[in-house]
Symmetry: C2
Subunit: 513 residues, 2 copies
């Protein structure tokens, strides 16, 4: 048996990594294989390992249970395999396991802690300089965000013409000095001047992304990995099926064991000129087969939704299609798809020229409340112009907007929901959003234990309620923009709630038990 | 021949009124008839007259041409008829004739002056005290409104429980002192305590409304008469077919000759519990037969549009059905109905508890611009709470909001449109509204003479345009909320327009000829 590196003790839902030496002749990425089998009292898991360069092979595993585990590693990567054993200790504070779908429309961590997604998008924050990455992490730390969407491949797009810190393959890119804001659109897909070996991964690129995933994990933030995207001048969006499959296998082998990852098969899948639905379904099949932990899986659209009814899709990852209605449609989508509705793009707060990137902080905050109270999960992004063309939506860095400051307030209120998740009340009037706990919606009860009413852009100066003659309710008036909560004491029977006649107000009504 | 009252000389599109004595025994409203035939060089028009009480009968006529006219009056109202002649003089300043549909989607006065409708709603302003009516007229005078919707019958509704100044029939109303904000909904239609003779009109009621129509006319404001509505505690919404027909005949005979009236068959036609589509079609047939001047005709919905494709309907009179999208749908409706789109209710600016009456001044102004630039006509209303429960939407009085102050600015810009009316440009990007002149849309021309771009709630900090290499354009940046216009000089080829990164901005681009 060869000398192997691994931890004798690992925390539940943490990564066990088996490190082995192996063959480095030929092309180890394609010519040799490696896999590991991990056995504990409650599970037996077989996973692919991967080549990490310099003759080093790795196999990663995330244990889902406490207790003793044994493992065996085999494959053509070396003349002999390896085996060993280790102990899985209880999860420590802040480690709740991976996020799962808890009750059709809502998420919870595997330890049953509710997960109310407050997402943001920074497409290539992980491919910026160390300094910028540190800034982004600092911004995230001070924010309420608990999910971030980002790409594994570099991005070629308006405001994104510079070179990434690294490339996923060995080779050399085209000369980017020819690019201008005016001509960049002409360079799409496999442009002239690129020389890549799509059979040899740049292991440093992937290792770096792993440090980013871990940094997020340690802040309690889910890494929603966008595995493919069409904003490309290098040809990564136009590889052959065989090359794609090699990439997917590599990505799955490297990242699956991180508890805080989600799979986003693509951003704007419908903008790839050379992929068919069959391609997406093939990648999905690989993810289902090769990720033994069943991380959340979805795919993000531009002009046309993917069919979110496909069984492999765990949740909708929606880009709004209508310029005016986005969060307002959550109920319709819940009805159609019967899955959690994540609004990963409801336009970005900012002031660039594009209509998807110039809504106000107030409108973004309104869309967040509207989405959350309708039983969905809103996503943020920022596209404010600045001297350095550094926009949060793409590069990360510093948050400049107004909406993000208000998400912790919303999040704290979401945490007060009895059970897991809000849903629209069947008794909602046409001009108010009445959110009630998902679990109470499933029970036929005249009066719910908890209501949250939201008035969106409307500015009523009062509202009147009547539930029954007996129940007593604590009533709070919430100013969602100014982040203030004002108690109105205990109400009973018919009652009137005075409001300030401003936009963005809500009322919280809690039944006294 | 009996002695008759009439004017020897009348202005084109003004009212000629023939006044005659007749029988006052039995019930002159039903037992006798009167009609007049007016003959000029270019037209011969027969109209019904009406009984105006105290043995007086009247026949009204609006001449559409200049020159000599003769008339004959006959009927069972008297033992002998009457005849005479008069001269029609040219229209004086401010008299442009009735409003007509000019070019499928837009209006013009009969003298071809474009009419850009800037409407408001004050349901029963005409049935308030003299003092309140004077206040309303004062407010209208200082406003940009050139159309007002109002009811002929009194109104029973939230914030509208007091007695009107008069009733349309002889009789006595129920005791309104029993009404409260809580119980008024129980009194609907023909409530107990009402005693009306639906065969005897209160002529003073109608004569008073005529003074209001004339006051509006003299300010250049169209009177959009809501002939029936369902907000009723007296039974006026539940009369028999025969009673309805008598009412319609009377209304048509009295009001048709006023050049500034429009017929709105009903407000919220779909809320009448006892009327069928056949009823509305029967009234429509009467209007078409009995109004020889073809005043504009429509009918207003609550939850479901009337079929605006019906040939008698000259324009859509829409209440928005979706809480979020209203003005945004103008293009769709234009496509479907091929008629002018008047958005008579896109929610009201205010702060009452109802979702239809609590949008902000900014949102109302946004909807006005959005509707106008999409080639439709927006309507205003105000529902701000106050000590006296006097709300513009119902009573008129004083305007309290913010949007109305910005309509003259919009109107002045609409007047700059070459030809008659704006329409959406077929080249509009998905995230901008590009309005171009309706007449240029009908010509296949690459570059239009005039563009108006609107960015609605979005806040771009610049926009870039390219039409062709040769054309020169005057470019103005318009702040629709702050009512400021800033010239950006003459641009050519590809050009960039810097914007302040605020909401509610527009750009006007005028081709240098």
């Amino acid at each position: 048996m060869q000398e192997i590196g691994y931890k004798k003790q690992v925390e539940r839902w943490d990564v066990q990594e088996i490190v082995l030496r192996g063959k480095s002749d030929k092309n180890p990425f394609v010519d040799y294989n490696i896999f590991g089998c991990f056995t504990g009292k409650n599970e037996k898991v077989t996973v692919d390992g991967f080549y990490d360069g310099d003759g080093i092979y790795k196999v990663r595993f995330m244990p889902s249970f406490e207790g003793e585990y044994t493992f065996k590693v085999a494959g053509t990567f070396a003349d002999e395999g390896a085996e060993g054993e280790f102990a899985v200790t209880p999860a420590t504070e802040g480690n709740h396991g991976p996020v799962r779908v808890a009750n059709t429309y809502h998420f919870a961590y595997e330890d049953a802690t509710p997960y109310y997604s407050i997402g943001t998008t920074c497409y290539v924050w992980a491919l910026q300089s160390d300094e910028m990455i540190a800034k982004t992490l600092e911004s995230l730390k001070e924010s309420a965000f608990n999910k971030i969407r980002f790409c594994l491949f570099p991005k070629h797009y308006d405001y994104n013409l510079t070179e990434p810190r690294s490339y996923p393959y060995e080779g050399t890119p085209m000369d980017s000095s020819v690019l201008t804001k005016e001509n960049f659109g002409k360079y799409q897909g496999a442009s002239e001047g690129n020389h890549w070996d799509f059979q040899r991964f740049n292991t440093a690129h992937f290792a770096h992304i792993e440090t980013c995933i871990l940094a997020l994990r340690d802040m309690g933030i889910e890494a929603d990995l966008i595995v493919m995207h069409p904003y490309d001048r290098w040809g990564f969006s136009e590889m052959t099926a065989k090359q794609d499959d090699l990439y997917w296998e590599y990505v799955l082998a490297r990242f699956s064991a991180y508890r805080n990852i989600w799979w986003s098969l693509a951003n704007e899948y419908d903008l790839f000129p050379k992929k068919s639905l069959a391609d997406w379904e093939r990648y999905a099949k690989m993810v289902c087969e090769k990720d033994p932990y069943n991380h959340l899986r979805s795919i993000h659209n531009c002009l046309q939704f993917y069919d979110y009814r496909r069984p492999w899709i765990t949740h909708c990852s929606i880009q709004r299609i209508d310029l005016y209605k986005s969060a307002e449609l959550v109920e319709e989508w819940r009805e159609i798809y019967k899955k959690p509705i994540v609004l990963d793009e409801i336009a970005y707060e900012g002031n660039i020229q594009h209509g998807w990137g110039n809504i106000s902080g107030k409108e973004m905050t309104r869309r967040f409340w509207e989405a959350a109270l309708r039983g969905g999960y809103p996503g943020h992004g920022e596209t404010y112009m600045n001297d350095k063309d550094v926009l949060w939506w793409s590069h990360g860095g510093v948050l400049r907007g107004e909406s993000h400051k208000r998400f912790q307030f919303l999040y704290d209120i979401l945490l007060q929901t009895p059970g897991i998740g809000l849903c629209p009340c069947e008794k909602s009037p046409w001009d108010e959003i009445w959110a009630v706990p998902e679990e109470s919606a499933q029970k036929v009860k005249k009066v719910k234990d908890y209501y949250l009413m939201y008035f969106s852009f409307m500015q009523p100066s009062f509202k009147e309620y009547y539930f029954d003659d007996e129940s007593e309710f604590e009533v709070n008036v919430i100013d969602t923009w100014n982040m203030a909560i004002e108690s109105r004491g205990v109400c009973k029977g018919r009652f009137k709630v005075e409001l300030p006649g401003r936009q963005y107000m809500a009322i919280q009504i809690i039944k006294v038990q």
